[in-house]
Subunit: 332 residues, 2 copies
Amino acid sequence: MKVSELGEFQLIDLLAEIVNRSRGRDSTSWQRVIIGIGDDAAVWSVDKPTQLATVDCLIQNVHFSLDTISWEDLGWKAIAVNLSDIAAMGGTPEFALVSLALPDCTEVESVATLYREMVELAQQFDVALVGGDVSRASLLTITVTVLGSAQNGKLLTRSSAIPGEKIAVTGCLGGAAAGLEMLAGGLQFDPEATACLRRRFLSPVPRMSEGRLLVAEGVKTAIDISDGLIADLNQICKASQVGASIEAEQVPVEPAVRANFGDRSTELALAGGEDYELLFTASPEVVNKVKRIASCLVTVIGEITAEKGIRVLDRHGNPLHLARTGWEHFVR
Amino acid sequence: MKVSELGEFQLIDLLAEIVNRSRGRDSTSWQRVIIGIGDDAAVWSVDKPTQLATVDCLIQNVHFSLDTISWEDLGWKAIAVNLSDIAAMGGTPEFALVSLALPDCTEVESVATLYREMVELAQQFDVALVGGDVSRASLLTITVTVLGSAQNGKLLTRSSAIPGEKIAVTGCLGGAAAGLEMLAGGLQFDPEATACLRRRFLSPVPRMSEGRLLVAEGVKTAIDISDGLIADLNQICKASQVGASIEAEQVPVEPAVRANFGDRSTELALAGGEDYELLFTASPEVVNKVKRIASCLVTVIGEITAEKGIRVLDRHGNPLHLARTGWEHFVR
């Protein structure tokens, strides 16, 4: 059945049912919900003094193509990219609102699949899906707003980097961009690499506990890598009015990328984007402590400098010139 | 200059500048902002225990056409429709996030105009525009999330209507739908009617103080009229598991509609939608008190019934059959 046969109001009833069925009894976020889906606004009781809010949208044929992503993965990703923003602030996500724009011909079952997966990931992070809206549109667009809180008001911002601090990154990079190239270009790799790159591009896992660990250890500066390592580092440099020096050799490249993309591996890791790893800056002592206690790989890749601009150096200390630094809307 | 020439990051800088320039020094919302535009998430301090959140999107060629609305009016409307949802809960709006999807060829000046007007209306209601995102898209889409609070946790919901309560409405209806017909069809009326209908369709004023007045006077049930009087009343009836009886003759029709749309006036008032007036139910005593103290017209148009379904009666008490009851996405 198409959504045009079901109608807006019945579709909302169906989505509300999916959400309410998943409602965890031991969820602290759900316990605070006063009004969920079905009124003019969602309502919940506040129990912490510092509120975080972020919004991100996924637009068909801009952020994704239904040729290379399933409805399931799309649901996951729509929530994950927003949770990643909360992780990059060192916060805890609590509530989500979903604004859905759908073509008339969309299958109801596809929307239900999308919602089930959104709810599944939300539940994993104790996020209550409390509201949203549904509209007709020519292309599928999913806009998610996530609200959360900061423990003791402590935050990771973009504007607090200081010259002399080390620049570090969680996990490995380049996997998402390589995954996109693999899926869009129909590239064939061995099953393990294929599965890894698919997962890295289609179902990134937000670094939620790592973000909170950074805050707890006294890190002040972080961003999640969505546009690309260099582009996102540039956001930190701009906001903090500093520069950075990166040793390209130190950047942790996803092994499946290194094995299959040869010379292009470094470029994919530096500029690929969508890895949703955390990039942060801190004193060498703090970075070392984080490296010891984090449950994921943490790698130092460079240093914050007083001199503005970002220098990417090769193994001989010579500047590397990148053809591109990351994703920017409206610029091709 | 087109947004494709400026690029995403410079566009965000420009929009942040527009927002920050408007930042009222005596705004209590802005005083609570810890991080506004320019980080992974917006951050503010919470000072009330009950949080409200609503999201609504306006999609080009679905909710509006750039042939009949200016960028200025679009900015106003994008904020107004969300504020109206907070009004319909009896709450106070405080913060807004804006997700903007723009075609490459959009003029930067158009986006700046849109933002200036959003900020202008936000400021009127002491709402701080604290974040959002910008993407490329084939059609213009504006998704606004508004966060607010409820005084003493008191709310207007859709689910609390009781048989025997009067049904009342603020202001006059039908003006927005008539305005759309006038603009889309190039209809010619006298200057006063033209101005009125334009305003009703293009720049509705959210009934914010009226919503709070209703809550203060003990009203428990309200909705804002966005889809159409009957469609929205149906939401109340569904959520409250009651029915309703409406006297069509009592429905306050916008005089400019009555004067220019003859026989169709009642249909426009009952099913037109987008008037953003408040529809509420309460005991006769409470409604009478609200009528006395509200600064706008308040009209009793019917009664909540135990019998399910909505009956619309003509002046002789005979049921009227409506060709349509309001707007529903995916149903034409």
